[in-house]
C-alpha cells in the first residue's frame, strides 16, 4: 500500500540546496535560480524508483550543457574533459542522492532502486500510472535543471493487481 507523501517543494528545494553546496557550487556563486516552470525543456534525465511505503520516482532532468557542467563540478574536471560516461555517472549519482534523501522522509519500509540514466529528454520517459506531484525547476548558469517527484497511483495499482 502506498501512502500520501508529505515531501513538498520546500523539502526538495532544501535537498537541492544541499547538493549544490556540497558538489555543484561549493563556492556559493552559482545557485539554481527558480523558474517555477514545470514544462521547461530538458535533454537528459536520471531517475530512481521508490517502492514500499510510497511508490514513485524521483527524476533529475537538465539540458546537456547543465549536465556537462554538473559532471565537471562533481568530478573536478575542466568542461572540455568531461566524457559521456562522466555525465552519465554524475546524473545517476545526483538522482541517487536526491532519491535517498526523499526516501528518508517517507514512512519506514521504502526501498530505493539503483539509478537509471537516459541521455534523452524527460518528456520521453514513461512512468506508468504515475503523476508528477512536486518539483523544483530552475536555471543554473542559464541552463534548465529540474528535480521532480512522481507518485504512482495506489488506486490504479490496486485496480490492476
Amino acid at each position: 500500500m502506498s501512502v500520501e507523501v508529505e515531501v513538498d517543494e520546500s523539502d526538495l528545494a532544501e535537498m537541492v540546496e544541499q547538493v549544490w553546496e556540497s558538489y555543484l557550487d561549493p563556492e556559493g556563486v552559482s545557485p539554481l535560480i527558480p523558474t517555477y516552470d514545470e514544462n521547461q525543456a530538458s535533454e537528459v534525465h536520471s531517475s530512481v524508483s521508490i517502492t514500499g511505503s510510497w511508490s514513485g520516482h524521483v527524476v533529475y532532468a537538465s539540458s546537456t550543457a547543465a549536465a556537462r557542467r554538473a559532471a565537471a563540478a562533481f568530478l573536478a574536471m575542466e568542461l572540455e574533459e568531461v566524457s559521456e560516461e562522466d555525465i552519465s555517472d554524475t546524473l545517476g549519482e545526483l538522482a541517487n542522492i536526491v532519491g535517498g534523501n526523499v526516501k528518508a522522509m517517507l514512512p519506514p519500509g521504502a526501498q530505493l532502486s539503483l539509478p537509471q540514466v537516459v541521455l534523452a529528454p524527460e518528456s520521453t520517459a514513461r512512468y506508468p500510472n504515475a503523476a508528477r506531484i512536486s518539483g523544483v525547476y530552475g536555471l543554473w548558469e542559464g541552463e534548465p535543471v529540474s528535480i521532480s517527484m512522481w507518485q504512482i497511483s495506489s488506486e490504479t495499482k490496486e485496480d490492476g493487481a
Binding site: S22, A76, G92, N96, G99, G100, N101, A104, L114
Partner: protein
Amino acid sequence: MTPMRAMVIDDSRAMRMILKRIVTKLNFEAVEAGDGKEALDLLADMTEVPDLALIDWNMPNMNGLEFVTKVRADPRLREMTLVMVTTESEQSQIVRALAAGAHEYVIKPFTEGAMIEKLALLGLVPTGANS
C-alpha cells in the same frame, strides 16, 4: 613514514572519484572497489590492510552493511576504520550500521569539509594534510 591507505567502496564511479580526491588530499593512498564483494576480494590479496574504508550502503552484489559485517568478523581486518557514506539517513539504518561495526556515518550529500571533519574526529587526518 608509510602513508595511510584508504579503500573507497561505491558503485558510483563519480562518488568514488569525489571520495578519492578527498582522501588523496589528506595524503592517503587510495584504492577503489565497486561493491562489497570486490572490496573483500581486493582485501584478501593485500598484505597490508588499509587504515580506512569509506563504504556506500546500496551496491549490487554485496551491500555496505554486509561488507561491514564480514570485515568485523575477520580478525585480520579488525584495525580497519569503517565509515559508511550513504544516502540512507533514517535513524534506524544508522543504528544498524553502527551496531554492525561501522565507526562513523556520513550522509550524502556531504561537503568536503564535513567529511574531513569526520575523519579528523577519528584521528585519521595527519597534521597539516588539509592545509
